[in-house]
């Protein structure tokens, strides 16, 4: 009985303990649940704004829509720069189950050569953040695309992406004038508007592509998209369409450009042709050129080295940046300076004994013809390229006047509207020499400048421009490459054009022209062989630029000099004389005398252009007759 009682008492005691304990437990349960609820209130009420923003940022992505780059045409509507769809192979590691097997399969499918396999594998690891596609290969062939498409089901995470790439159909002949686009680098990125260039990978690096970058690029658009955690776009929430870049029509003539390259025939040098009355640059060639398409996707180091180290400097734009002594091509401009300054008149003559001597100086400055040309007036001085006449003229003008008037033709200045990277050349002056060498100007140096040697340095572009101004009777029209930008025609009268050149008597132009016409057509003309059979009136002037200076009384022998020390041949020309359609400058490096080489090139350029013009006008007449 007692045992039973104590058991009962025990049971009661145990029940009591349990009740107390479970009450405590209930209290703890409520406390902990309260803690959870407090946390939820904190997250969902107090911090709601923070988290709603975070979840929106998760979900919504703004994707830039890059504009399509404007096309570039030549003056006749021939396509010079286009956008070609190319196909790239990309891979997102996160979506690939077995990366090694996938790469192995790709290598087999694409039939990669041994040498490229390692680089291919390496590229699959190159990316900045998770889920970013790594670019495995660009510019896939049709066959490769087909093979990938067939095997697509075996290749999750591998994509073939289309991309528009710049392509230059005539890269070799247009390379310097057009320039090229390339991948935007980190430094350039700092200069660009990040919003407008967010989706753009390429920008103009040189030439027209760089100068008209803003117009060609266009305005970027954007779209807001909803993505899932894997970055896959699920739907579009809104978009602003991009504004495509403007098409550009250039003043260049592809055929003339092509002819110029052919005429250079692998020699180093430059040909520039300008339409004097409109300033349109018809041809601007620097040889050798290069394949600018190589630069679009990024040229490999070895090829770039090869181009850079090439002794012929294919990457160097000689037309705009090459600096040469003008040689005798400067003489017509010197003559004009003399007329402007009133130092000479066309009819005035000098006697040339074969040399010129400065007063009180025993040194003889030689004419190229040792025994001299005898009595020489302005016209004959140009035709026979008489040095003595121009030594005397230069001395009478003095360097200050020469400097002033040469600037009026654009020497020593940037002359064009839109040629990228144009060099100023060098038009020396007393101030320049003082600053450069801390020396006074010596009278003998004026004589050198008078025949286009010495410190004087010109670019082919300057020379062609000055020739165009001369042909245009002193009327300045700024040379340019752009004919139409989008729908807008680029006007002939551009701001900041230099002042026209006026002579006391406008008849004097004819005396200059007569001298220059005789260069090609006269009995004594230095380029009379190149002028044979001319069907229109053409003026010209030859020039030889010394690369290697000869000591006094040393005889020049081209054969004995190494090829690269030989003189540069220069020639300037314009035609027809009474209605100039084309002004040309030709520089052929290390070719020897100008009369023997450069003049033929100028003649062929003029022939091509003028016959082309004639065809056009005949066609126009023809249609009129029909009507």
């Amino acid at each position: 009985m007692r045992k039973h009682r104590s058991a009962l008492k025990n049971a009661r005691q145990e029940l009591h303990t349990f009740r107390v304990r479970s009450l405590v437990a209930a209290f703890v349960v409520i406390l902990l649940t309260g803690a959870l609820m407090a946390r939820l209130v904190y997250l969902q009420v107090a911090q709601h704004e923070v988290y709603i923003t975070r979840s929106e940022n998760n979900r919504v992505r703004v994707e830039p829509l890059p504009p399509t780059r404007g096309l570039i045409f030549d003056r006749n509507g021939e396509l010079l720069a286009e956008n070609r769809p190319t196909y790239n192979l990309t891979l997102v590691r996160e979506r690939v189950e077995d990366i090694d097997a996938t790469l192995e399969l790709l290598i087999n499918l694409l039939d990669l050569p041994e040498a490229e396999i390692d680089a291919f594998r390496e590229r699959s690891r190159q990316r900045q953040r998770p889920f970013q596609p790594a670019l495995l290969m660009s510019d896939l062939s049709e066959e490769q695309i087909a093979k990938l498409a067939v095997n697509r089901y075996r290749l999750p995470g591998v994509e073939v992406e289309a991309q528009l790439l710049r392509y230059y159909p005539d890269a070799e002949i247009m390379s310097h004038a057009l320039g090229f686009v390339g991948r935007i680098n980190a430094e350039e990125l700092k200069e660009l508007d990040p919003g407008n260039y967010a989706g753009t990978h390429f920008m103009g690096k040189t030439g027209v592509e760089l100068f008209y970058e803003k117009e060609l690029h266009g305005q970027a658009g954007l779209r807001k998209v909803e993505t899932n955690a894997r970055g896959r776009v699920l739907r579009e929430l809104g978009r602003t369409d991009p504004v495509p870049g403007k098409n550009l029509t250039l003043t260049l003539d592809k055929d003339l450009q092509s002819l110029a390259v052919d005429l250079m025939d692998g020699r180093r040098g430059s040909i520039v042709a300008i339409a004097p009355q409109t300033g349109e640059i018809l041809a601007m060639v620097s040889t050798p050129g290069f394949d600018s398409n190589q630069f679009v996707t990024g040229i490999d180091v070895a090829s770039y080295r090869a181009l850079q180290n090439d002794i012929d400097l294919p990457l160097f734009n000689r037309a705009a940046r090459g600096q040469y002594p003008a040689g005798s091509t400067v003489k017509p401009f010197m003559a004009l300076a003399g007329l402007m300054e009133g130092e000479i008149t066309p009819k005035q003559t000098i006697y040339d004994p074969g040399y010129y001597q400065l007063p009180n100086d025993s040194r003889r400055y030689r004419n190229w013809l040792r025994w001299g040309h005898g009595k020489v007036d302005l016209e004959r001085a140009i035709t026979v390229s008489n040095n003595t006449y121009f030594y005397s003229l230069a001395h009478e003008l003095g360097i200050d006047a020469i400097n002033e008037h040469m600037h009026e033709f654009g020497f020593g200045e940037r002359v064009t509207e839109d040629v990228h990277g144009e060099s100023k050349g060098l038009m020396p002056s007393r101030e320049w020499k003082r600053a450069r060498f801390n020396q006074p100007w010596y009278p003998g140096e004026t004589l050198s400048v008078g025949i286009g040697q010495g410190y004087l340095q010109i670019t082919p572009l300057q020379l062609a421009t000055a020739t165009a101004v001369l042909a245009n009777r002193g009327h300045w029209v700024k040379p340019r490459l752009a004919k139409e930008i989008g729908d807008r025609e680029v006007p002939v009268d551009l701001p900041d054009t230099k002042q026209d050149i006026t002579l006391e008597s406008s008849e004097w132009w004819q005396d200059i022209y007569a001298g220059m016409e005789n260069v090609l057509s006269g009995r004594e003309g230095t380029a009379r062989r190149a002028g044979k059979g001319l069907e229109y009136r053409m003026g010209g002037k030859s020039g030889t630029a010394q690369v290697f200076s000869l000591g006094q009384d040393e005889k020049y022998n081209a054969d004995e000099l190494a090829e690269r020390l030989r003189d540069h041949a220069l020639f300037i020309a314009f035609a027809p004389v009474d209605d100039p359609q084309i002004a040309i400058s030709v520089v052929v490096e290390n070719a020897g005398g100008g009369s023997s080489h450069a003049s033929y090139l100028a003649r062929d350029m003029a022939d091509a252009w003028i016959s082309d013009k004639d065809d056009e006008s005949e066609e126009a007449n023809g249609t009129e007759d029909d009507a």
Partner: protein
């Protein structure tokens, strides 16, 4: 089994025999079916709500919802069957259940299948694979309740040492698999039995100090991934794309839900797959995002009601075994909820604990419902004594 016969008979329309002499009050139909209607109702509401959330969390996959519904049906069946066993039977079978489960744990240790980087599954070829550690969640409190139920309470030191042994062997084995979450839950179930049995407060304080002192030891014995979880918990931003991703995304989901939520199937975090494991361990984040604070509080209240009903039933038990077992089962159930919601909302480190009866997954649902079956058995097998 008589109750089952009665039920069957009543359903066939035959008169139910009046209860045997000595019983003054008639048992209700529910009691004879050994089912607690209130608890069942609460569980069914919870399961229904869970399926609604699961449909959204699974990316609107009806197949997943059906699979889960079938599992829950099986779990309900298990609950019902276990409820028919009398507590006396359960108590008698406890040592066998414990011993058998312990043996399978050893078997897993020796030859378990490696799945998800941990040896958790035991595969009987061609028949089934199961996690013995899951069974231990029930076998452990049963064994302890059965042991302590026969002793005088509160337990004395020798008894406690035996309890410690019963606790430690399986817990260590499970922790070695390694499955820290389950081993902690098993240990919790055991600790609740001892606490409810009346372990002296002084001893509790002493043990707390001991555990605190053992923490560094535990840290050193943790696997790298477990240590990473704790570190990530302490500073999720340190590895936002790696281990911290889960916590950042789940708190973002819950926080962005606000008071009323983004609406069912409208949660961007969930539907756009920013939330990891969103139909299993992190399902509560889907709830929080789509149904907001209101939905969260409603579900938490539902859990609180279930716990309250469970504690009420435990207090109605007539012997120590029943009380201790029932109390331990319901408190462990709460620990599930607390740990899961705590980890998803970022106040506890990430341990693999599902949200009971809502997370997708079979084994845990079955174990949990088996526990509720035991609760109902303890409740419904009371002998109604005359007052």
């Amino acid at each position: 089994m008589t109750a089952l016969n009665d039920l069957a008979r009543s359903m066939r329309g035959r008169p139910v025999r009046p209860p045997q002499s000595g019983m003054s009050r008639r048992k209700s139909l529910w009691m004879r079916a050994h089912v607690d209607p209130w608890l069942l109702l609460l569980l069914l509401v919870l399961m229904g709500a869970g399926l609604v959330v699961l449909y959204s969390a699974s990316g609107q996959s009806m197949a997943v919802v059906e699979a889960q519904a079938i599992r829950l049906g099986v779990a309900l069946l298990v609950m019902f069957l276990l409820a028919q066993l009398s507590p006396v039977t359960l108590m008698r079978w406890s040592p066998l259940a414990y011993g058998g489960t312990l043996l399978t744990l050893v078997a897993v240790e020796v030859m378990g299948d490696v799945g998800m980087g941990a040896q958790r599954w035991l595969v009987i070829p061609g028949v089934m694979r199961f996690q013995p550690s899951e069974l231990m969640k029930l076998a452990m409190p049963m064994m302890l309740a059965a042991y302590l139920g026969r002793r005088q309470l509160p337990p004395r030191l020798p008894d406690l040492l035996v309890c410690a042994l019963i606790l430690l062997v399986p817990v260590v084995l499970i922790a070695r698999q390694p499955d820290l979450g389950t081993s902690l839950l098993v240990a919790m179930a055991a600790v609740f039995v001892v606490l409810l049995a009346g372990l002296s407060w002084r001893f509790i304080a002493f043990l707390s100090v001991l555990v605190a002192a053992a923490l560094p030891l535990l840290w050193m014995n943790m696997h790298a991934y477990q240590q990473q979880r704790v570190l990530t918990f302490l500073n999720p931003e340190s590895d936002p794309l790696g281990a911290g991703w889960n916590i950042i995304q789940s708190t973002t989901a819950i926080g962005s839900g606000g008071v009323f939520g983004k609406g069912w199937l409208e949660g961007t975090q969930s539907q756009l797959e920013f939330l990891p494991e969103r139909h299993t361990d992190f399902i509560v984040a889907v709830l929080g995002e789509e149904f907001g604070l209101v939905g969260m509080l409603a579900v938490l209240c539902l859990y609180l009601l279930i716990v309250a009903r469970g504690l009420w039933l435990a207090n109605g038990a007539q012997d120590s075994f029943g009380r201790l077992l029932a109390g331990s089962i319901i408190l462990t159930f709460f620990i599930y909820v607390f740990v899961n919601v705590g980890m998803v909302s970022g106040i506890l480190p990430v341990v693999g604990v599902p949200l009971p009866l809502v997370s997708f997954g079979g084994t845990s649902s079955v174990t949990l419902m088996a526990g509720f079956g035991i609760l109902m058995s303890i409740h419904s097998h009371r002998r109604l004594l005359p007052r």
